[in-house]
């Protein structure tokens, strides 16, 4: 048993969709979430800068005495995870590996932000577990602004979903699973599922990350007590008001 909180961070509020999955699966755990709003988006920063920012956050979360740290951000997972894991003693988990290690499909689609696709992080991670998988990657740069602007229900959204999904060539590439490789994308899951059809599995990386972390806590006897009611504490490095507003827009009421 361990009553310490779980630390989690992202460049902004996208990681809150991951936090939601954790809260659902681990209602007895406390969480400390840090949104690095002073430096978002990470996607257009150099690896050196991203590592510098993430290290500051890791130090902050360690000062808060958390029992493990989840990098709930694709770009930070791709860029800073190795460095941080090697430098700090605390258990640090990224958002890519847990999903990549479970994918046994022959033909896999990955959709994510431009920066994440460009980093090839998903391709490398999936191939390290499943070396012969054919991976088709498509960047969907309009999805994050559509979600953050609360335009999911706008009729136009379905046309853009179609535009990006077409680029995956699902039928001719025989794709059976698509990784929703950005923490915002689960909010568009229904629209994407409508476009790809019921036979293609959409992978929610937050859900898999939560299961992975729960397994780690159980294996190491680090769970909080069953009678404890979990709490959350949120921090943002800049403009907490607009962080709250964006959080609300992605369905996370503070």
């Amino acid at each position: 048993m361990n009553k310490k909180a779980i630390g989690m961070f992202d460049s902004g509020c996208g990681g809150l969709t991951v936090l939601k999955k954790y809260m659902k699966l681990m209602p007895n755990e406390d969480f400390i979430y840090f949104g690095d709003t002073a430096h978002l988006p990470y996607g257009d920063k150099s690896p050196e800068k991203i590592i510098e920012y993430c290290e500051e956050i890791v130090k902050f979360l360690i000062s808060k005495d958390v029992k493990m740290i989840i990098i709930a951000c694709g770009t930070a997972s791709a860029t800073a995870y190795e460095y941080l894991k090697n430098k700090y003693d605390i258990e640090i988990r990224n958002i890519i590996t847990p999903t990549a290690s479970t994918l046994t499909d022959k033909n896999i689609g990955v959709i994510a932000t431009k920066a994440t696709i460009k980093s090839k992080a998903w391709k490398k991670a999936i191939h390290s577990f499943n070396p012969t998988a054919n991976i088709t990657s498509v960047a969907c740069p309009l999805f994050v602004p559509i979600i953050e602007e609360c335009l999911i229900e706008n009729e136009g959204t379905s046309y853009f979903v179609k535009e990006y999904i077409n680029k995956l060539n699902i039928k001719s590439s025989n794709i059976s699973s698509i990784v929703l490789g950005c923490t915002h994308y689960p909010l568009l899951k229904q629209q994407i599922q409508n476009e790809v059809g019921a036979n293609v599995r959409l992978i929610d990386i937050g859900e898999i990350s939560a299961k992975d972390s729960l397994n780690y806590l159980i294996a190491n006897d680090l769970q909080n007590t069953p009678e404890h009611i979990g709490t959350i504490e949120l921090f943002a490095s800049d403009d907490f008001e607009s962080f709250k507003e964006n959080a609300k827009n992605i369905g996370f009421t503070i």
Copy 2:
């Protein structure tokens, strides 16, 4: 007569739509354009940082011996213009004042990026010339990614144009002119015009800026010679290849 080039800068390639209007109106002038791709987008930076970045560019353009400098960026015009104008002897013009000074309408709409709307720069500038104007401002954060992703022709775009234009309440607010307050927006002019109808005037700030600068050159006898064929020189502070690609996406072939 003055054979020196005209300097122009933006955080990225959006200002190239302004440069196009200048080239059309002043085919005898040489232009040096600087896209600050290392620091884009300016919209999420602090005023201090934006001023610092812009000052570096101004120094660079002065070192290139230009005869005047155009800030072809809404955010930089709103943030850094006053500082630069007061500090440097060279003629510096921003992208907001020339348009603001021509608007005599009673009811004016302004559409722009989130950062530009939040800065209230257009409101302040228009009111300084037309103090009783009623100004309705709407941020259209999806327009820049739609344009840069070459999705202007996608059927979904018309729905998002409708979404944002509805927020202007053109009829009930009796709006007769709408400022396209972001340098990318002229590329969506047709779609916006379809939505607002032929009776509402859409203001192209690049066109007005070009006329304003031409008047300045004429008044000060600074035009190049009529037999000279104008040239352009482009600089970017990071990743010239993706600058070129984005420039192509907004219809500017290099």
